[in-house]
């Protein structure tokens, strides 16, 4: 497990740096929905890489995956219910 984790560290770091650089370059384009979506996509990819390789969720057992899954499910509920409320209001902000 140790050797495997170490072998992934450098490629993960390089991938993260490339993705971060890509996000910064994208931010120089004119603002628009596509630019926002692409930057968020690259951000999500970076988050996934950190979680899987640096935090070793990839090598974690089922219990770790349950904790990770439950955390994001709760976060999803937080966002879904709150945004559902705000976005369905008929108020002019």
């Amino acid at each position: 497990m140790t050797g495997s984790a170490r072998a992934f560290s450098l490629p993960t770091f390089i991938s993260l740096a490339v993705l971060a650089g890509g996000s910064i370059l994208l931010s120089r384009l004119p603002p628009g929905p596509w630019r926002t979506a692409l930057i968020l996509l690259l951000t999500g990819a970076q988050g996934l890489l950190i979680m899987l390789n640096f935090m070793r969720a990839r090598l974690g057992g089922r219990v770790i995956w349950i904790v990770v899954g439950a955390s994001f499910v709760w976060l999803g509920i937080l966002f879904a219910l709150s945004l559902g409320d705000y976005l369905s209001r008929q108020v002019v902000w």
Partner: protein
């Protein structure tokens, strides 16, 4: 009595079980931290949707150069931390100490750069409150953006500061365990915390700095 037996607390069968429990506990804690920062990200999302133009314009007043440098600084510290954990597991204590030291150093560099950035924000009148001197349109909505910006980056900085103190403590424990192992040094568990702090910054940076455009 073997070294592994000395390191095991009485409630565990063996060192492997103890480490699994420690890792599990940290993941559960990080789950609560995700919800904690999730609230800040949610507030940002809601108000960005409502005051889109004001948020895009306000984000242009942040220093993307310092933000970008800090992103690479934190990613590098995470890399050092990851290798430090592997080295510790391979029982290579000297490289572990060196890599933990580098992780610490890059964490401090991040905080110093953040401090300079806050100073610039203050000088340009971007700190919400009586001294807020934003010159762009939709002043009140822009102030809301900066409130969220200082909450998110401030909370992140506090977490980083805690991490820096923990690294210093870990380095002392690793040094002590070199001579006489008394208890398990949870370098791997700490690594999870440090990477999580990096994980949070990975989202703060684009949301506040990049989505506004440069």
């Amino acid at each position: 009595m073997t070294e592994a037996a000395i390191l095991v607390h009485e409630q565990f069968d063996d060192l492997a079980q103890q480490r699994r429990a420690s890792t599990f506990g940290m993941w559960v804690f990080l789950g609560t931290e995700l919800m904690f920062f999730g609230g800040v990200f949610l507030a940002y999302t809601v108000y960005r949707l409502i005051h889109h133009d004001a948020f895009v314009e306000a984000a242009r007043h942040l220093d993307t150069t310092i933000g970008s440098i800090n992103t690479f600084v934190l990613l590098t510290s995470s890399f050092f931390c990851s290798v430090a954990v592997s080295m510790f597991e391979s029982r290579k204590r000297a490289p572990t100490l060196l890599l933990l030291g580098l992780t610490l150093l890059f964490g401090i560099v991040f905080l110093v750069a953040k401090g300079f950035e806050y100073q610039e924000d203050w000088r340009h009148g971007l700190v919400p409150g009586p001294a807020f001197a934003y010159s762009g349109p939709e002043r009140e909505q822009a102030e809301l953006f900066f409130i969220l910006y200082f909450i998110a980056t401030g909370l992140h900085a506090v977490h980083l500061l805690v991490g820096i103190v923990l690294i210093a403590v870990l380095m002392v424990l690793v040094m002590l365990s070199w001579f006489r192992p008394r208890r398990e040094v949870a370098v791997g568990t700490f690594g999870l915390y440090w990477h999580f702090v990096d994980f949070i910054w990975i989202f703060i940076f684009p949301l506040f700095y990049l989505l506004g455009g440069t």
